[in-house]
Subunit: 444 residues, 2 copies
């Protein structure tokens, strides 16, 4: 009997826990679900003998050490900044550990201890980071194995709303952390295009989009993510001419979202004055010049050079930013107020389905001939609980846990799933569960 | 014989030191000029018996205490962050002190000690902050004394190049710290307009300018400074309907400068890749999309919707940003690279004259009638050494020092020159030295 300890039992853990419990008896696992909210853990564990629930506080050092050292493998679904506390105990006691978060420098420093004590810490094993690494490295390795020269790699992922019959002109709702959506793109964007370093400031980012077509799923637009250059190291792509990572939205989203950026409404660095009693309309007006005789709509359209009847203005009206409705906060940054307003329309309803879209483009030279492969994966959620997001984040972790426990992944130290020995078996099983990449060669 | 200790003997200290030495024998002063570069201090002290020079290091605690406690009054021209070290010694030993910098929280905490030991620390006694406080408070106090209700206050200052016969289409050069000019406006802008809080993000700031006309000096454009709201407290303006502080430039400057902001070329938060060997043209191109068949000029004009023959493009060409000349740095942030390029054309030459322009607008209700007063001061430098900047920063300090030593300013604790007892005598003497404000009532 092997014990798997899952730290955290929130919404995003459903698919992970489902998989482990379903496969528990066949694999002789005992699954322990730990959360600071015992009832949440109990709800998830309510599936028979294979699972049990405990109340758990990572800041209780004694309990943390006791529970973690009982386990053969720990999956931490805690907030990313808490992983270090788990990792220290796992490293010291040779316990295997998995997370879906990025490797921090602080965690990286534990590598020798994990190695010495014969355990593995597998990180970045969710969707993005996770499935993106695995699906990209598979094709990148194939291109290299065939002796071709890679010249370009672009990769885009989007957490979207599945196509609906709704009248929502944004074709978007919050399917993950709303705060991260509002702040998305802040920071500096760096990438490489045809051998040249390129930089985009935040206030131009949502106007520098690319059009992407995925057969069977239509058109998308992509905007660049922060620092594509760090993948030079992690994917071993030094010398590549084009390297670009981005985020996908449905067409027209970015141009409308850019209005909030232009106004300053996504700023999270200062507190607004006078939030108490402020209406949606007041909020927008606070970023526009004073003129009591003009409407907020006209001032905004003129300021940002938009037609009053444009799609962007239609989207703004639909989301309610011109309404005289009170915001309903007593204080906040512009970004917090905007998030609060958007949540009124963009909160996912029970019958809404989310959709994960991932797309890669690989350019390479085959004996002097330029060739291109595109690959994509589109996953649609069942409802607001069994989301595509929870599956694509949880299943790689669950499969990875199985492979570590049954010895199919036999690594020590700290790893991300860029190695064939890791990504091959996990991608195979993901494919059999319906999360398959479609690859095709495209004429260039 | 009273001793005045001046800490710092850099360029900006010329007018301060000139005034004190000229007035030394009549007032029975001994002026000690202290700098970490002894030759610099000696050069400034080379005027006869009234002045002497010493080598001085504020981080040498023993020397600092020894020299400061010998003085009756200390003027610190050190970088703003060093004032605290001086202030601690002055507070503990009851020594009067003056600076032209903003009062920090750390310094404010020394107030009881200054009071207890019977000394004054006068801060914000230069140009801006300094002359702006004094000249504004004079009119604000008069309006209140006459029983009128103040409804609006706007104030703008610019450190500019005096009108020349040059072909420089920017009509601008660096007349003070170039780095601060390149970074100007970063952060968040807050002000009040007709009773409403208004916010402008950095990437819109240089397009939200006001036109200002000063009789005899022509037109200027003004953009908003960071946080005008802090003057609600320091000028006691709570309840005012409009409150706006800004910076002046000559017409057309802001629209051209905005191009650098839109590109991301003023960003100081990350290091550029590939600065070694980069040309001016490469630098601009790194913010534009890749297209080997189009010129950098056309890509930029199209990206930012400019006519190729516009004034803005003319300014960019003149400043050399499209040149194939190497930048000449090995690393740097975008802002550092831009500063380095601009310095090649914008460094002040020996015969260049700087010009300080300050303008206030006061709106008030006089028995139900809306009235407006405007006031301005324009000061022009003699050459690149005897600059208007060095005079307008140094003379208020010098005059303030005289008034403290002869008892005309009889305050204890920490003060800024917003009190009539301070601003009245200093403004009077500044006026007699030619730094006069012109006030006029304007029809509204």
């Amino acid at each position: 009997m092997k014990q798997i300890l899952i730290l955290g039992a929130g919404r995003s853990c459903s698919s992970l826990i489902d998989y482990l419990i379903k496969n528990a008896s066949a694999n002789n696992w005992q699954v322990v679900i730990a959360d600071k909210d015992l009832s949440l853990a109990q709800e998830k564990a309510d599936w028979g003998d294979a699972a049990s629930a405990i109340e758990f506080d990572i800041f209780n050092e004694q309990q943390s050490k006791e529970e973690i050292t009982k386990a053969d493998l720990v999956i931490s679904m805690l907030p990313a900044s808490f992983h270090i506390h788990v990792a220290k105990i796992c490293a010291a006691n040779g316990i295997n550990m998995l997370t879906a978060s990025y490797v921090s420098d602080e965690i990286k420093a534990l590598e020798p201890e994990f190695e010495k004590n014969g355990a593995v810490l597998l990180m970045e094993l969710g969707l993005d980071p996770g499935i993106d690494h695995m699906s990209a490295m598979k094709v990148l390795d194939e291109i290299k194995e065939q002796g071709h020269e890679l010249i370009g790699f672009e990769t885009f992922t989007g957490g979207l709303l599945a196509p609906t019959k709704d009248d929502n002109p944004w074709e978007y709702k919050f399917t993950w952390n709303p705060r991260n959506v509002v702040l998305a793109g802040q920071g500096n964007v760096k990438f490489i295009q045809e051998g040249r370093y390129k930089f985009i400031p935040y206030h131009r980012l949502f106007r520098r989009t690319e059009v992407i077509h995925i057969p069977g799923h239509g058109f998308f637009e992509g905007y660049a993510n922060r620092d594509s250059l760090k993948y030079l190291d992690s994917y071993n792509l030094h010398g590549i001419k084009t390297l670009y990572r981005g985020t996908l939205r449905r067409p027209g989203f970015c141009k409308a979202w850019d209005i909030f950026i232009q106004l300053g409404a996504t700023d999270d660095t200062y507190k607004l004055e006078g939030v108490e009693g402020m209406t949606h309309r007041d909020f927008i007006n606070s970023f526009l010049s004073y003129n009591p005789n003009d409407s907020v709509e006209l001032k905004l359209a003129h300021y940002l050079n938009l037609d009053l009847e444009s799609e962007e203005m239609y989207k703004l009206k639909w989301i309610g930013v011109f309404d005289d409705e009170p915001v309903g906060l007593t204080e906040g940054t512009p970004a917090q107020v905007l998030e609060h307003i958007l949540k009124k329309k963009w909160t996912i309803q029970e019958d809404d389905k989310d959709q994960i879209v991932m797309w890669h483009k690989f350019d390479f030279m085959d004996n002097g001939k330029h060739r291109q492969i595109q690959s994509d994966m589109v996953a649609t959620g069942e409802d607001s609980i069994h989301t595509a997001m929870s599956k694509t984040v949880g299943l790689p972790l669950a499969i990875g846990a199985k492979m570590v426990l049954n010895g199919k992944i036999d690594l020590k130290g700290i790893h991300i799933p860029t190695e064939k020995a890791v990504y091959d078996p996990i991608l195979d099983e993901l494919g059999s569960l319906g999360f398959e990449f479609h690859e095709r060669e495209v004429e260039v």
